[in-house]
């Protein structure tokens, strides 16, 4: 019997011995974590089994077929694990990885700042070594789920004389301390998906410095490189909804919390799916001018979808990635912007309504006040176009004005004064 079949059998055997949907989620995941089946691709010293990605896929397959819940993986947790496994010390791995797999600990990312959005490496949150402790001062922003996180992945400046990328250091910070204040950040569409985090003489022990002092940028790159993947995981979890047993109830509760910041994302994308139904409902489908706009939107949305399909097909056929792979985000911005226009044309005055008498319970209005976010969040259209122009088309890079010692780089003033 093949090696994969053997692994599949071993996992299934283990599950049949231990799986009990009436356990609470935490106890079950503790079992899973300690068994090594929760992250089989991790090293055996750290809750793993040194398995290859292919073998790991077999394990996940076995869990899925058995209908059993795996380790906690969704969200920033995974980013923390991947980064710690790549750059963390032995002690850090021992201290943090288990709580990640069991789901006991929530993590958040503390990278972006009011003064450094597109320019992440321009962070001015400072960490100064006083005796055995790093003292952190500064403000971070766009921190999803920071309001119920135990730990934060912190990017802070420890050297103001080095060039911007070399002066940053990566820390694990305990969010539950007096020096750390988390405030929810309300958006123009009424939701609050993000937080601001204010650090005033917050304390980080020397042991929680990840990687090398001044090596923070490399660690941050590892974190960001895995961002997309982690959200795919979140969807997997969603796939398991609706099953019976306490464990699934716990799982749904966990997922509901994890997903809460994202409920308006479909509206942010423009809800192209609602255009034809609304057009028929309102009769706008009979207006020739509106029909042209509806058609334009349909064309743009279909072309964007097919462009993504081409990228997938090329990857599947083992071809080198063409430009089609880098255009999705920009296309999505254009689609959402046009969709917002079309929904406005279709609903007219009613598009403004948010109360009981409003169409689709205010959903249309939510589209209009949410679409402006899609061309900003996760990299503005401007940054996307720079990337496409420079990396895909190979055009010259922007001239640099921020090399040399960071303390001499012109920047926004809302950052704390330099030491």
């Amino acid at each position: 019997m093949s090696e994969h079949a053997a692994i599949h059998a071993e996992v299934t055997q283990w599950l049949s011995q231990h799986w009990d949907p009436d356990m609470d989620l935490l106890s079950w995941r503790s079992l899973v974590a300690d068994s090594g089946w929760g992250a089989p691709n991790w090293p055996s010293d750290y809750y793993g089994k040194d398995l290859s990605p292919q073998q790991t896929a077999v394990v996940e397959q076995a869990f899925a077929e058995f209908g059993a819940v795996g380790a906690a993986q969704s969200g920033v947790r995974m980013l923390a694990a991947v980064t710690l496994l790549a750059h963390g010390s032995h002690e850090q791995k021992q201290k943090y990885l288990r709580g990640i797999l069991t789901g006991e600990d929530q993590w958040c990312q503390l990278f972006s700042e009011p003064g450094s959005g597109s320019d992440l490496a321009g962070a001015t949150t400072r960490a100064d070594l006083r005796g055995d402790q790093w003292i952190v001062n500064g403000q971070k922003v766009w921190n999803t789920s920071a309001h119920h996180a135990q730990y934060g992945l912190l990017l802070a400046r420890t050297n103001w004389d080095a060039p911007k990328h070399q002066g940053l250091t990566y820390f694990v910070i305990n969010m539950e301390q007096p020096g750390v204040e988390v405030r929810q950040l309300a958006q123009m569409n009424g939701h609050a998906s993000f937080n601001e985090v204010f650090m005033t003489d917050a304390v980080v022990s020397r042991e929680d410095l990840v990687g090398a002092e001044g090596g923070g940028w490399q660690c941050a790159m590892t974190t960001l490189a895995n961002e997309r993947r982690s959200f795919d995981r979140a969807r997997d979890v969603a796939g398991r909804k609706g099953r019976q047993g306490k464990i699934f109830a716990d799982l749904e509760a966990e997922f509901a919390i994890a997903n809460e910041p994202y409920t308006w994302y479909p509206q942010r994308a423009g809800r192209v799916d609602l255009v034809m139904p609304r057009a028929k409902e309102t009769g706008a489908i009979n207006d020739p001018a509106t029909r042209q706009d509806i058609a334009r939107l349909h064309i743009m949305a279909e072309c964007a979808k097919w462009t993504g399909d081409r990228a997938k097909a090329a990857a599947k056929a083992g071809k080198p990635q063409g430009p089609e792979g880098s255009l999705g985000k920009l296309a999505a911005s254009n689609v959402a912007r046009l969709a917002s226009r079309v929904h406005t044309a279709i609903s007219g005055n009613d598009a403004l309504l948010t109360g009981q008498t409003s169409p689709m319970d205010g959903l249309i209005a939510e589209i209009l006040v949410s679409t402006p976010a899609i061309s900003i969040a996760g990299g503005t259209d401007e940054i996307q176009k720079n990337i496409i122009a420079e990396r895909v088309l190979g055009l010259p890079k922007e001239p640099r004005f921020d090399d040399g010692p960071f303390r001499d780089v012109r920047r926004n003033t809302q950052a704390p004064s330099e030491g």
Partner: protein, 389 residues
């Protein structure tokens, strides 16, 4: 036609700007938009007494300042720039013009003076389904009951400031056609439902008229509803241009202040060119709004417009409405985008203007509807001149 303002008009504009800066900072806008009433009586009193704005365009014989449409449009532009929260547009623009078009001497003496002084706040209720105020769309009925009292029955939608007005002017149908009727005050038969909209800086309400006693306004000039729509569009276009200008200014200020990669983001050529494009948009829309105001000002008697006057007024009103709507929306989108993440937050002020842009876009008809309306007016003008020839 003079497209430059006189020194007096420039001074007039400055005085309003000073007032807005002083009395209508966004902290105040946010306070008022959060309240159901939506405006501050003291501020309204000052607008009425110190600046005498509600009567700026109303003849002196009826207690106004006796200026014209150009001065009114200046006021609208500055209120749009500062997001003025108050019943100016509903009372001074819509209701006052409705009375000017339809009231007889007595009615003007009685009611118009109150609007001019700001002691009463009128609202205008016309829209039922279509937003272009077509006569065929008016299903509200005006009937005299047994003792000769006229009563109104029907429903009106999107009535600006309907929830706080104390004088209601309603378009209704009777045997003699479409006319305007005045409800002097609140009435048990008058149901008022405030609307929740995405733009809390402009309050609107639905009206339910269940045999509400009303006074018929005497005159029913030709083109009544279309002339009112033209006035509404011209004043709104100027308000929108003021708002677009404010957005452009805040985009210019922020991009020059904001440093990324060691340089102000206003130094990135792609952003420079987009700001240049936006400036062009705003100046073009401004020209349309100013020209439309001039065209309105040139109509010596709105009650009896010549066919060519009526066509030109409609052409320029719809042109200005369409141009200003597209520009204001574009300015809103660009300004949010150029602010980046912070521009999408509630604490940043950009969304206040963006939402006003969205609500103005569809108010009184969409840009596409007004492009069609404009072109029809141009064609009508051509045919009437051909007939004349």
């Amino acid at each position: 036609m003079a497209l430059a303002f006189t020194a007096d008009q420039d001074q007039f504009r400055d005085s309003i700007q000073r007032f807005m800066t002083d009395k209508m900072p966004t902290t105040e806008v946010r306070r008022l938009m959060a309240a159901t009433r939506g405006f501050d009586d003291e501020t309204w009193r000052q607008v009425s007494d110190q600046l005498a704005l509600p009567g700026i365009h109303i003849p002196e014989e009826f207690g106004g300042a006796g200026f014209g449409a150009v001065e009114l449009s200046i006021a609208c532009e500055e209120m749009g720039r500062g997001l003025f929260c108050g019943p100016f547009f509903s009372s001074a623009v819509l209701s006052a013009y409705a009375l000017l078009l339809t009231g007889d001497e007595g009615q003007l003496d009685h009611w118009l003076a109150d609007l001019a002084s700001g002691t009463r706040r009128g609202c205008l209720a016309i829209t039922e389904h279509s937003t272009l105020w077509q006569e065929g769309d008016i299903n509200t009925l005006a009937k005299a009951d047994s003792d000769g009292q006229i009563r109104l029955r029907g429903n009106k939608r999107f009535v600006i400031d309907g929830q706080t007005a104390d004088l209601f002017i309603v378009a209704a149908r009777s045997e003699s056609g479409i006319g305007l009727y005045l409800i002097p005050d609140h009435d048990p038969q008058l149901g008022i439902t405030p609307l929740d909209t995405m733009d809390p800086t402009r309050k609107m309400a639905d009206l339910h008229l269940d045999d509400v006693p009303a006074i018929q306004l005497t005159h029913q000039p030709e083109h009544l509803l279309q002339t009112l729509l033209n006035v509404a569009c011209i004043c709104l276009a100027n308000e929108m241009v003021g708002g677009a200008q404010q957005l452009l200014q805040s985009a210019l200020d922020y991009t020059q202040l904001r440093f990324q990669f060691g340089r102000s983001i206003a130094s990135f050529q792609a952003i420079k060119h987009r700001l240049a494009d936006l400036l062009l948009e705003v100046e073009l829309a401004r020209s349309a709004a100013y020209q439309a105001a001039q065209t309105l000002a040139a109509c010596e008697n709105l009650r009896s417009l010549s066919p060519s006057q009526a066509n030109k007024l409609t052409e320029h009103a719809s042109l200005a409405k369409a141009a200003a709507s597209e520009t204001y929306l574009q300015a809103g989108l660009e300004t949010i985008q150029l602010h980046g993440g912070i521009g999408f937050t509630w604490e940043n002020d950009t969304h206040l203007w963006f939402k006003r842009a969205k609500s103005s876009e569809v108010l009184f008809g969409s840009p596409a509807e007004h492009r069609e309306r404009m072109l029809t007016a141009i064609e009508d003008a051509a045919t009437t001149t051909e007939d004349a020839a």
